[in-house]
Every structure is written in structure tokens, then in C-alpha cells.
Assembly symmetry: C2
Homo-oligomer: 493 residues x 2
């Protein structure tokens, strides 16, 4: 139910042979043109390909050398340190692999390998990992500060996909040699690698050098997306004079699949079932809220989702179960004048409740990476940086003893239109619908891409997103209540 970082890269995105054949020649021409321009530019480019075994990092490496002019590329694969390398500090070999201005270095995981693998094999603990990630942060910062363009792409495949691929390689006598004990050992540690990779990506996705996760189950989709991301980033950088804008994710291509499309919008609940479930859940929640008050556990609920997706209704079903002294519902609108004179997170810090209370946010700090991103109210460097700032903020809440539950309520565009029309017809609901709501609809694709990126970059182990199919209001309300009861019970344990 809860969504985690890599799920946005397990959507089954693919590209047909025809689409691939159509796009590749254009992409290759663009890459070569950009490479020509880069030769005269005064910055180096470092492309890092991270990802699990079997995601095809090696294939992509070879392909990029084929698609681009290999003479302008240093391709570097790091193996176990040589004797020469062991005589120097660990980062020496990475420094030596850095490209000069005007050139590209193409590397697989590089400085990420040792920290991640050591942690997965239990040779280090989480705090060692964090120290390594801090070292990585300082290293990448000095490269970027001195002008380097750092493109970090993470190729992701699912556990199932990884196993299938290994088995297939083993079956074929001509590829059997590619599968070693180490591969199977790594495969067994898939879940552990995934957890560590999440932590790693989160800690090292900065505004200036963010990771982009690329779904890699389908090789054609993977190759084209990698090449497009590189082309976009190069173009962005070559065009701009000052380096104040940060990289931004691509709009999903070629098919706008997002994690939201994976939800089963057919999920429904009949009225009688609903009434019974609602009564039960509200009774449970009331009991849990008394426990929370006694134990001084704070509960913060964040509601995001489409206009008319039923956020208000879900919130009302929760507060019906609470004592009025125990909660505060905060509708988040445009910031006041006083708030605009402060850091964008300030107004959320400001309203943090005492422990032992419920706080329900109808829209939230995520406005930064949703409406402000889509409407151009925040610059790309500001909203790109915000993912990390928000993760830091939420980490502090959770560390302080707050249970943080984040909901995205999802409905189809057809259902949304139906609800808009219904609001227009209902006198006491007319105030809820404005011209702006219709305008937002036109940007639905952009909002959806923004929501997808948000879920990818802010689904943390301490504050995962819960995606709620809200086409049926009853189903959605019950799911929202169930989730909060579950999370509170988990907090009791």
C-alpha cells in the first residue's frame, strides 16, 4: 500500500521497435551535435550510471560509445583497486578519471560502489554508510562548484526481473559465462541492496546533482531515456549563461505512464459495507487517538491529490472520530504576506502542533514541487532542491515522535469532470469550483509528472506515500482511515 522510491520505476514502461527506430536516428544526431558544441565549452561532463546488477549498465555504456563520438568520451569501469590504487587514498582513482573541460567521462557506479556493497554485505553499518555518503556529497559538490556537469542516472529493474534475467543468461550456453556466483549472491541480497540504494539516492540527490531513476526492464525504453536525459542536460547547460538553474526531470516519455496509472480506479465499496466499516474504523481511531494523547505521540496527516478528489470528505471522516481538543485541520492556501516574507517551509514549521495531537493538512508543503513547479512560481533549482529539504523536514518530525501519513488521492479525469459539473449544479458547492480548476485540468499531464517525481523522491522509509484510488469516495475514505489506524498500531508496537 505504501509507496517506496523505486516503485515509480516498475511501471512496465516500454518502447516498441518502430518507435525505437524512429527516435534513435534523431537522438544520435542531437547527441553528436551537442558533443561538437561541448568541445568548445569550458566545463567537463561526468555521466554516472548506477543501478542493480542486470539493469544493463554495461550495455548502455557500450551503446553510448556507439551513438556518440567515442573520441570525446573517457569510458571508465572501476574494478577492485590495483596495487597502484591501493597505495593512494580511495578517491585517487576517481580524481584520475575526471575528464578535462570539453570532454565526457562515462562511468558505472564509481564512488558509490564500495559504500553500497560494503553495507549490503554487512561489513559496515548505517552510520558508516552515512559517513561515506557525506564524503560523496563533498566530492560531488566541489566538482559541481568548479563547473562540472554531473549527470547521475540510476537504472532500475525489479527483483523478479533480475532473477528472470539471470536464469535466461544461465540457460543459454553462449551467455552462461556472464553469470557468476557473485551475481546470485547479489540477487539474494536484492531487498537489502534496494533499501541501501534508497538511502543512498536520497542522501546524494542534491539540487545541483540529483539522481534520475530510469526504468530499465525494457532495453529500448531504457536506452532512449538515458540518451534523452543526457541530451536534455547537455542542451540545458550549453544554452545557459549562468549556472543558476538546476536540472529537471524529463516529462515521462514516450508514453506518459506514471505511478498513478498503476492504481485500480475500479475499487469500490457498497453503501452497507461502507457504513459498517466506517463505524468500526472510527471507533478504533478514537481509541488510538486516546493512546496517542496519553503517550504524547503526534499525528500529522498530509492530504494531496487532484482537485475534487475528496480530500475534504476524507478529512471530515477522520475528525468525526476525534475529540475537538485533539486535532487541528489546516487548509493550506496561498501564503499570507507575512509568510511570503519567510522561507517557504516556515509557515509549516509555524503550525506544528504539540505532541499528542492530530494535525490534518489539506494540501501541504508539497505545493512547492506540485503547483509551484507546474505554474512556474518556483524556479527549477528551487523546486529541485525542495525534495531534499522536505525529506530533511519530515525526518525531523518523525524523529521527534510524530507519525506522519501522506496520502495522494487519485481520480480519473472523467470522474473529475463529473464532480466539477456536479458542483456547478449544487448551490452549496458552487463556491468550490472556479475558472482556475478548469485551467489546472489543461495542465493535468504536467501535474501528473510532478506527482510522480514527488512520490519517487519523497517516499522515505520514515514517511512513505499512500496512494489512494479515490474514484469511489467510500472506498477512499475507508482506505484513508484504515491506513491511519494501521500506522498508529505499528507505532504502538
Amino acid at each position: 500500500m505504501y509507496r517506496r522510491v523505486f516503485e515509480t520505476a516498475e511501471l512496465g514502461r516500454k518502447l516498441s521497435k518502430d518507435e525505437y527506430k524512429e527516435q534513435v536516428p534523431l537522438l544520435r544526431t542531437e547527441l553528436l551535435t551537442l558533443q561538437r558544441q561541448l568541445e568548445k565549452a569550458d566545463f567537463p561532463v561526468i555521466i554516472l550510471l548506477g543501478g542493480v546488477d542486470g539493469s544493463g549498465r554495461g550495455d548502455v555504456l557500450n551503446l553510448l560509445n556507439e551513438w556518440m563520438d567515442a573520441r570525446g568520451i573517457n569510458t571508465v569501469a572501476f574494478d577492485a583497486p590495483t596495487e597502484e590504487e591501493r597505495h593512494r587514498p580511495p578517491y585517487w582513482r576517481y580524481w584520475m578519471a575526471l575528464p578535462p573541460k570539453g570532454r565526457i567521462a562515462l562511468m558505472t557506479s564509481a564512488w558509490y560502489t564500495t559504500p553500497v556493497v560494503d553495507r549490503a554485505y554487512g561489513r559496515t553499518d548505517d552510520s558508516d554508510l552515512d559517513a561515506s555518503l557525506q564524503r560523496i556529497g563533498a566530492f560531488e559538490k566541489t566538482l559541481v562548484d568548479e563547473g562540472a556537469l554531473l549527470i547521475k542516472l540510476w537504472l532500475h529493474i525489479s527483483k523478479e526481473r533480475q532473477r528472470k534475467r539471470l536464469k535466461k543468461l544461465e540457460k543459454n550456453p553462449r551467455t552462461r559465462w556472464r553469470v557468476g556466483d557473485r551475481d546470485w549472491k547479489h540477487a539474494k541480497l536484492y531487498d537489502e541492496f534496494r533499501r541501501i540504494s534508497e538511502r543512498t539516492l536520497r542522501a546524494t540527490s542534491t539540487g545541483e546533482a540529483p539522481w534520475f531513476v530510469i526504468e530499465s526492464a525494457n532495453a529500448r525504453y531504457r536506452d532512449v531515456t538515458v540518451a534523452q536525459q543526457i541530451a536534455e542536460r547537455l542542451k540545458e547547460r550549453l544554452q545557459k549563461k549562468e549556472k543558476s538553474t538546476a536540472p529537471r526531470p524529463l516529462d515521462p516519455i514516450p508514453d506518459p505512464d506514471t505511478i498513478l496509472d498503476t492504481l485500480d480506479l475500479g475499487a469500490k465499496l457498497e453503501k452497507t459495507d461502507y457504513n459498517a466499516r466506517l463505524d468500526d474504523l472510527q471507533a478504533s481511531l478514537n481509541g488510538l487517538s486516546q493512546w496517542a494523547r496519553d503517550k504524547k505521540v503526534g499525528v500529522t496527516l498530509v492530504f494531496e491529490g487532484w482537485d475534487a478528489s475528496g480530500k475534504g470528505g476524507a478529512i471530515r471522516r477522520i475528525i468525526q472520530a476525534l475529540d475537538a481538543r485533539d486535532y487541528r485541520a489546516i487548509p493550506v492556501a496561498a501564503p499570507t504576506e507575512e509568510e511570503r516574507a519567510q522561507h517557504y517551509l516556515w509557515r509549516f514549521w509555524r503550525h506544528l502542533p504539540r505532541l499528542g495531537r492530530f494535525t490534518l493538512y489539506d494540501r501541504s508543503w508539497y505545493g512547492r514541487v506540485l503547483v509551484e513547479r507546474v505554474e512556474g512560481l518556483a524556479r527549477p533549482d528551487a523546486w529541485m532542491r525542495a525534495y531534499k529539504e522536505i525529506n530533511d523536514f519530515e525526518e525531523q518530525l518523525v524523529a521527534h515522535g510524530i507519525v506522519l501519513v501522506k496520502y495522494w488521492l487519485h481520480i480519473s479525469r472523467e470522474e473529475q469532470m463529473k464532480r466539477f459539473e456536479e458542483r456547478e449544479r449544487t448551490p452549496w458547492k458552487q463556491h468550490k469550483i472556479t475558472e482556475e480548476d478548469y485551467r489546472n485540468r489543461e495542465k493535468a499531464n504536467l501535474y501528473e509528472a510532478a506527482a510522480n517525481d514527488m512520490i519517487e523522491r519523497t517516499s522515505t522509509e520514515y514517511a512513505p506515500w499512500t496512494l489512494v484510488p479515490a474514484e469511489d469516495k467510500r472506498f477512499a475514505r475507508v482506505m484513508v482511515l484504515e491506513t491511519i489506524c494501521e500506522r498508529l498500531r505499528a507505532a504502538i508496537d
Copy 2:
């Protein structure tokens, strides 16, 4: 002999009453004018006053409120958290104290207090401290990224000074109340506080939000310097359009005292003493170098100092004691074309020797914060950032098993001129003297300020600076040899 961070703030800098009376009215007028301009600006200002007890943070707080328009200043002193505050995450109260755009918040140590005090009392260990410092880094980064001007001033007094002040306060019946048990307890922990503060300042001095250490033994000097630093920083920021330039240290005022002036340039060694000492030391060094080779300990020696201060001569006395296979002397000149196409640290990484060897740098990576700073070859944001980059670099060397010794060879300007003239007269030394050497002399004050800042910001516990009085060449050479032998012996233990 080795220099540590705070020694540059124990030089006895002071201001006479007359100087003070002359400067204060001008400063106050300037501060008020800047404050008027700030009201219309779109950024907030946060002034942090850190420092040990007794350095006068409270007095400075009051004074600034008097000198500036107190209506534009939120003065915040943080005590033990209130009940309201304990109900929120620790940073809540800092967020609530942030000023809106156009205003100033004036705080004492704020978010630095708990990490430093907890560590000093042994309630946490170094890795807890590092985690707290990382949290501070993320917090300050988001403030600065969103446009805040963060001015961090550290008021320093020596241990002796602190004790004297406490005793004086205790003696006077009217001020006795100001001295509590806690003050004496802290005073006993002075050395521990100092070590922790060093670590704290190093970790949190970033290019965008560096600490400036202010010598605070003399109240007049302290007050004027604090006010000047604030005025400078405000002016800098109000004048610039884009926020790409970083804050820079003030040229020492009003009297250009630097740490270099504390050296006893009268130190001398007679020729016979010298010859005997030299023989002994070279024999010791030779033995130690064999140990280093066997144990695979790397030795890196950095020589910085004035032109004609005798760096080359000192280096020759060292390599005379070494097997030619065991060392490499690297004269650092302007970077080659290949090197200019890379990160400025790249050429030093490139020449890192294998372990078990000596590497002697005649000038070094410190060029970034010396000649490049003074000659305007690096922008202020680049050289300001470099202190941290260099500390990171050196930390990696030392962690890898390298003994790193850094020398600054110091001579008076008169002695330098004498040596220049001697070079001109000696046919085989003429090539060592150029027009440029004379031009550099004209900027001696700027170089001296740069050297002072460098020593302040890069004297770490793992790689302290050794300042060598080099007016007498014999004395200098012996001291250089003694130091390396000492450091190697310490490494053996």
C-alpha cells in the same frame, strides 16, 4: 610549535580609546544607512554570535541593539527549551526565530549550543557531534539557498583570559551574581570546548556561510570588528545583483597584526651548533625514512612562505638525508594547459606518491588561497570555498596513512629585500629573481592577511601548520628537520 585554529585570535589585537572614539560614530552611521537599505531588500539577515563563555557575546548583543535601529532587529537568546518548545522538534524554535525579509535576527550560538555542550559534557560522542553538524549544514544551506544572508561570528578569548575575567567578576560584589557554578565548570572544560569548537567551525564553515573568528580579549577591538564585519557583509550583499560572490574576511583592522607577527625572528643558530645539529637530525631522519618505507607510511611535506624565505634550502637539507628512490620533490609552478582544463585540486591528486615515500611540495594547493586570492585569479566564492575543500583533501591523505607536515617559512620584509639584492649580485642566483618578485612585495600586506586566514582555517588536528621563523637560515633548516622527525616519531607511537 604547531598552530591551531584559534591561535590567530590570540594575538593581543587591541584598539585604543581614541581610535575607538574616532571609528564608532562612522560605523554607527554606516550601519544605520545599511539598515535603511535592507528594509527594502528582499532577503533576511541572520547574525549568529558564537564563542566561549566570557567572550562577551551578551555585551555585543546589547551594543548592536544600541548602535543599530533596534526596531529592525529581533534579538533572540535561547535558554533551556520551554514546555511549548519541547513539544516540537528541536529546530522548531530556530525556525520561529527566523526574521522576515528586510529584517535582522541577532542570536547567540543558537543551533550550535546543544551539539557543542552535549559533546563537552560527554553526553554524546564525536560521531553524534558530526551528525548534528551535518544537520546544521543542511539547515543553513536551505536558509542561504532561499536567499538569507547568514553572518556567523565566533568571539574568541584564551583560557587564561577566561579565568582572569571570571575571577575579576567574582571579586566585585556588584558583578558576583554573574558568575555561577556552571561558569567554573565550563572553564574547567576549556580545552575540551576548544577542541570541539574547532571541529564545529571546520565542519560548518562553508563557502556561503563561513565562520569569522574575532579576537575578543580587548572589548573595543572586538566591538569594532564585529560591527565592521556586519557592515561589510551587508554592503557586499546589498550591492550585488546575483548571489554568486561569497563573503570574504576583512583585511585585519585597524592594525594589521597577524599570527606571523608572533614569531620570534631573532631566533638564531651558530654555525658550529648548526653543523652538529644538522648531522644528528639527518641521521635520525634517514632512520625514520627506512621505518616509513617498511611500514608503508607516506610522508608529505608542504612548504609555503615568502619569496626567498629559504624553502628550497630547507628542502635540500631534507632530501640529503633520503635515498633518492624514496622521495620526490615537486616544485609547483603555474598549472599546465592540461591541468588548467581540470579541477584545481586535480594536479595535486595526480602526483600523489605511493605509500612509503616522501613527497616534498615547494608551494602547493595553498596557491588557491594565497596567490590566486591576492592576484584575483580565483573569485572570492572559489577561494573562500577552497578552505573546506583543502581540509577535506588533507583529511583523506591523513586517513590513508600519510603524515602531512605543512611549513610556513617567515622572514621580515627587510631580510627579503636583502636576499633579493644578494641574488641580483650572485651570477648563479640571478635567475631566481624577477620583476614579479618586486611586484609581489608591494602586496605584502594582502599576502600576509591571506596567510593569516589560511592558517586560521586550515590548521586542523590532523594537519596543523608549523610556522618557522626563517630570518636565520640555519635556525629554520634545523626547525624544519626537527619537526618532521618529531611528527614521524609520533606516528610510530
